[in-house]
């Protein structure tokens, strides 16, 4: 069987495939005659540079995107609101324009609210002092 195969293989090898058309040969010769402006070495170099450039751009875009994402859109959540006990200052009585008397008082307290971004463990604390002045009319008998 192997001997048969050898004969068959030898017979196949003796066949002559048809040659490519003349236009193929002519086209190849034109290609060979062109001045070599970009052989494979410069092609590899260009490809390498393009690859490095593309990776740099990707890195910058990714980094910029991450930075913008973390900086521009913080995920702060309200974790607490507090208010201090109001304090009262009482001043000496004063006479008003209409001749009546009143005692000025000042009430002040502080309010604060806290937000926290769990992803960065950062806190935003909003501190707000509050103050009110009032006149308490005095009756003089």
């Amino acid at each position: 069987m192997n001997e048969d195969n050898d004969h068959l293989e030898a017979a196949l090898r003796s066949l002559t495939p048809r040659a490519p058309g003349g236009h193929v040969v002519a086209a190849l010769h034109r290609e060979f005659d062109k001045p070599v402006t970009g052989d494979s070495r410069s092609w590899f170099l260009k490809a390498g540079l393009l690859w490095a450039g593309a990776m740099s751009v990707c890195f910058v875009v990714f980094w910029g995107f991450s930075f913008a994402r973390s900086g521009a859109v913080p995920d702060y959540r309200l974790i607490g609101v507090t208010q201090t006990q109001p304090s009262l200052d009482v001043f000496n009585p004063v006479q008003l324009e209409d001749g009546t008397y009143a005692r000025p008082v000042r009430i002040h307290w502080n309010r604060s609210a806290q937000w926290e971004d769990p992803s960065t463990q950062t806190r935003l604390i909003h501190y707000q002092p509050e103050e009110k002045l009032a006149l308490i009319p005095l009756e003089i008998f």
Partner: protein
Amino acid sequence: MSDAHAHQDWRAWFAENGARLKLIARQWTRSDADADDVVQEAFVRFWKHQRHMPGNPNALVVTSIRRAALDLLRRSDRRTAREKAVAADTETVGWFEPEADPRLQSLAESLELLPAEQREVVVLKIWGELTFDEIGEQLTISPNTAASRWRYAMETLRKLITARTYE
């Protein structure tokens, strides 16, 4: 990278090998004209980008031919007029030069009748000058499968030749 084939005369190389390259291309194309196109495109691609690579250029050229042929097949669904014009040529243009010996002529015609998967192994082994390992790489099959297809092809060829002899 050093040029491994700096002194190679590629015109002479193609003149010597062009016919067998076209036969290889013919295995994956639908017409003689397509095979010409594929050989031209594949060889230009090889010559521009791979001719400096070390080793035997044959395997690289065969790989280039296969890629170009597959590219053409993918594009072929979108092509119309030209293919229709050459469609008739598919059946009329033989793959080999006419042989004076009727047994060889019969063998040439029988080869074209083989199942495609057997035929491409035969062509790659004889005219592609590839080993079964290299054929396996080209066709993404195991070397054992390539060798098995070769044996089936030889068996089928014998049957075809015998049948034609007694026609």
